[in-house]
């Protein structure tokens, strides 16, 4: 399939590191930072990977979903934990929509007699 046929190609995930080809300094700094972020610290690697999986769904990045589904499986997470991470993302996204309902309600109160 030509790369022009679709916006997303599975193979492109493996080429992520190539972003340094066009701008080495910033790309390299990013990957150094990225690597550090996912090291074990106050949070374990496992906890960080589950957060990343949830965020991947919130931002709807297919590359990230692919990468962090594999990463969480590798780190020994089970199916329930993966889905609960997705529900956390869903709850925050849903909540973010609904909390704006208060804004709508405020405006309704201002507009109506």
């Amino acid at each position: 399939m030509s790369t022009k046929d679709t916006y997303y190609n599975k193979e492109d995930l493996g080429k992520f590191g190539k972003i340094t080809d066009f701008q080495p300094e910033l790309g390299e700094k990013f990957f150094e930072y990225y690597g550090k972020v996912f090291e074990g610290g106050a949070l374990t690697k496992r906890e960080k990977a589950l957060i990343a999986l949830g965020v991947s769904h919130a931002i709807q990045c297919p590359y990230c979903i692919d990468a962090y589904t594999t990463a969480t499986l590798k780190l020994g997470c089970d199916e329930e934990q993966l889905m609960e991470a997705v529900h956390v993302a869903g709850a925050i996204r849903g909540g973010a929509t609904l909390v704006h309902g208060v804004q709508m309600m405020n405006q309704v109160k201002e507009k109506l007699m």
């Binding site: 690697k45 496992r46 990463a71 499986l73 590798k74 780190l75 020994g76 089970d78 199916e79």
Partner: protein, 349 residues
């Protein structure tokens, strides 16, 4: 759920080692490097032994389980069993050598009628014995119920597969009901003193991924397994070995059928670790097949790649010649060099 049968019983194309090698060898077809080129770049080709510390013996392909990922293609229908004569040839081969460990594998090694005799004879030579016990064999028949006591008597290091700490994923790989029986067997081993303080009885678990992905950190997985098994089942173990599934036999079949073969091979190659390549287990191991033939490792055995530059049968075992052999490599070897490396004893780097 239908019970899986061996590739041989199903007359699957992969029952022939040559069909597996043909697929694996076509690295250009899936756009990956050749393993030979990869280690040549490190100055490691031809790959040579560093010693022979471990003598691994496959005492038969018969097994009470039919695991989806089994690289031996073992199962109840497999009749290949090592005879006592061949076992005696193994004993003659290791007697007086520096080989310290004899690692018994199968199938379910305990199903060989001469298994207990063989263990007794090996320990009488002053060698340590590892038994790759699938756990469920202990409960498969009353005649096996005393295995924990037998293992204890001979201070056998029991190494048992438990791919996950829940039934769903364990049973998906190893068959319905395997998890529950494995837990019962682990309790029996603990009751015999295995993995308990000051007993010196070593019980190690093997984690291997229940799908087309590589294992994560062995240290982290060990901690997770310890917590889960202790909290929920009050089970103790010593170490956990994280082992990569090698693309051979039924795991190769699974990869092809699930359309994961190319991605998996790419993942193995991308995770190539030069340090792991230097420490691969074939460099200090000899693997003996059920019929006495010699191989560089258990995986080469399943691909029928016999040792080269040395006599190929245990009846003509030549320690010095084997030390000078060139180890046969192919694309499946990427499984042992990925990430932190993989061997029958877990990570290698």
């Amino acid at each position: 759920m239908s019970v899986l049968q061996s590739l041989k019983k199903r007359n699957h194309a992969f029952k022939e080692e040559s069909a597996q090698i043909e697929l694996l060898s076509d690295h250009q077809g899936i756009g990956i490097s050749s393993f030979q080129d990869k280690i040549d770049g490190l100055g490691l080709f031809p790959l040579t032994p560093t010693g022979i510390d471990v003598f691994q013996v496959n005492v038969g392909k018969m097994c009470n389980q039919v695991c989806k990922h089994c690289h031996v293609d073992a199962g109840p229908d497999r009749q290949e069993i090592m005879t006592r004569d061949t076992m005696q040839q193994c004993l003659d081969a290791i007697k007086g050598t520096d080989i310290k460990i004899v690692d018994l594998t199968g199938g379910a090694p305990e199903m060989n009628p001469d298994f207990r005799w063989f263990v007794e004879e090996i320990t009488a030579l002053g060698k340590s014995v590892i038994v790759r016990c699938n756990l469920t064999i202990i409960l498969a028949n009353p005649k096996y119920n005393d295995l924990p006591e037998f293992f204890k008597k001979h201070k056998v290091n029991v190494v048992s597969s438990l791919p996950y700490f829940t039934a769903k994923r364990t049973d998906a790989q190893r068959g319905d009901g395997v998890f529950e029986k494995s837990i019962k067997a682990l309790k029996m081993l603990n009751d015999a003193g295995y993995a308990l303080p000051d007993t010196g009885l070593q019980l190690d678990l093997v984690y291997n991924p229940t799908g087309a992905f590589l294992p994560g950190s062995q240290e982290d997985l060990e901690a997770e397994f310890r917590t889960r098994l202790r909290d929920k089942f009050q089970i103790e173990f010593n170490s956990l070995f994280a082992i990569t599934n090698i693309p051979v036999s039924r795991f190769l079949e699974y990869l092809v059928n699930s359309k994961n073969y190319e991605d998996y091979m790419n993942e193995l190659v991308n995770a190539f670790n030069p340090t792991a390549a230097k420490g691969v287990m074939c460099r200090n191991t000899i693997s003996v097949g059920w019929d006495g033939f010699l191989f560089d490792c258990d995986f080469n055995q399943m691909l029928d790649l016999k040792v080269q530059n040395a006599p190929t049968h245990v009846s003509e075992f030549n320690f010095e010649a084997l030390l000078k052999r060139e180890i046969i490599v192919n694309q499946h070897c990427f499984g042992c060099t990925a990430g932190a490396g993989s061997s029958c004893g877990g990570v290698t780097s």
